[in-house]
Amino acid sequence: MRHLLSPLDLSVEEIDGLIDVAKKIEKNPKAFRHVADGERLATLFYEPSTRTRLSFESAMLNLGGTVIGFSGASNSSASKGETVADTVRVVGCYSTIIAMRHHKEGAPMVASQFSPVPIINAGDGGHQHPTQTLTDLLTIAREKGRLDHLTIGLCGDLKFGRTVHSLITALVRYPGVKFVCVSPEELRLPDFVREDVLEKNHVPYKEVDNLEDVMPELDILYMTRVQRERFFNEEDYLRLRDRYILDGEKMKLAPQNMIVLHPLPRVNEISLEVDNDPRAMYFKQAQYGVYIRMALIMFLLGLEVPEV
């Protein structure tokens, strides 16, 4: 039985395979309507979520499966003190696959040790978010036509930004990839990404605090939100939240073929005026997210890909 806890749980070939299936789904979604008949997804979301949870649910419903679950720890037995281990052992009796979001880092790994069904990490604290990464990779593959030889700017909260950690972890396996990390000193990449992923794999990267200076060299700009829920100190959050705002003026500095990604939700870090720029891909990302999650569910459940 396979789980998806980190992007490294999938080989490059497997990711390429998922992207191929997602492209087939995009072309002919009707062909996939009954692929997961009889399967049931449980969404265990201990943290609030709109996109990821609904994206997972849409993915399973599109495949013909059914969905159960809860949203928010207060709506679950966790509020009564139930452990993650007990919860998944029980929910595993009601479902054939589980997507879990948890505020504690490593919770999906604990779940995978006790679950009778595959576990998908749908975001654990400030740690990893591998299905957002699959979404990002599909978006890049579709919009840039490749996953190699790219310069990716990552901007905002790189310390607690789990989508950033997962994206870097996945992309270092492709040749010619470079990273430009734009953040204030306090929100730089954690050492488990900088030392264990970037430096260990000899991947070129630089850490800067000015976005305008590096805009011209980017193929992709990945904006992130400074997340209030990751701060123990409200003052620090207020001081850092509006440090970077991507607006029309800054977009003038970017190459014409650069694309802007954002895992969403955004707050102030991308001005509304950028939404009309053809380089803004963040709403397309949300659509790609459903296709790639459909492909992932099929993969983890061992379901056959229909001939299209």
Binding site: T83, K104, E105, G106, V110, G125, D196, R230
Partner: protein, 142 residues
């Protein structure tokens, strides 16, 4: 010079960093050993200046992996019939369990009851261990 009598069968755990004998003693649970345990602290060492030594009577099972995790400079000599018969070389274990606590307040180990603290070796050269669950680096646990 203090004279500590030799042992017929047992171990000489040598080159323990000076002052750290207690950590080794506790980790190896030497309080549960039936034979004699002799502790020498602040012994002269040509290599390290000062060191601690523990002599254990009896060939009890020793957790060498744990000892390697603690300090791979430690040496373990096996004594049989009053003679040194083997020197054990220590190496860093791939994984250690229950010897340290993850200090990341966002880690699931801070909340989940009954979950063992496990650290995984990430960089042998730099001796870096990280929490298996949240990947927080294990800083000085001694």
């Amino acid at each position: 010079m203090i004279n500590i009598s030799g042992i017929e069968a047992g171990y000489v755990i040598d080159h323990i960093a000076s002052g750290k004998w207690r950590l080794v003693y506790d980790m190896l649970q030497l309080d549960k050993v039936e034979g004699q345990v002799a502790i020498i602290t602040h012994a002269n060492s040509s290599k390290y200046g000062k060191k601690d030594i523990i002599k254990v009577e009896g060939l009890i099972p020793l957790n060498l992996e744990l000892l390697g995790f603690l300090d791979h400079n430690i040496t373990v000599a096996v004594v049989k019939d009053g003679k040194l018969v083997e020197k054990k070389h220590l190496s860093l274990p791939e994984e250690v369990e229950g010897v340290a606590t993850c200090h990341n307040p966002r880690c699931i180990t801070s909340e989940e009851r009954g979950l063992k603290q496990i650290f995984v070796l990430r960089d042998r050269e730099k001796r870096v261990y990280r929490c298996k669950y949240c990947e927080e680096k294990l800083e000085d646990f001694k």
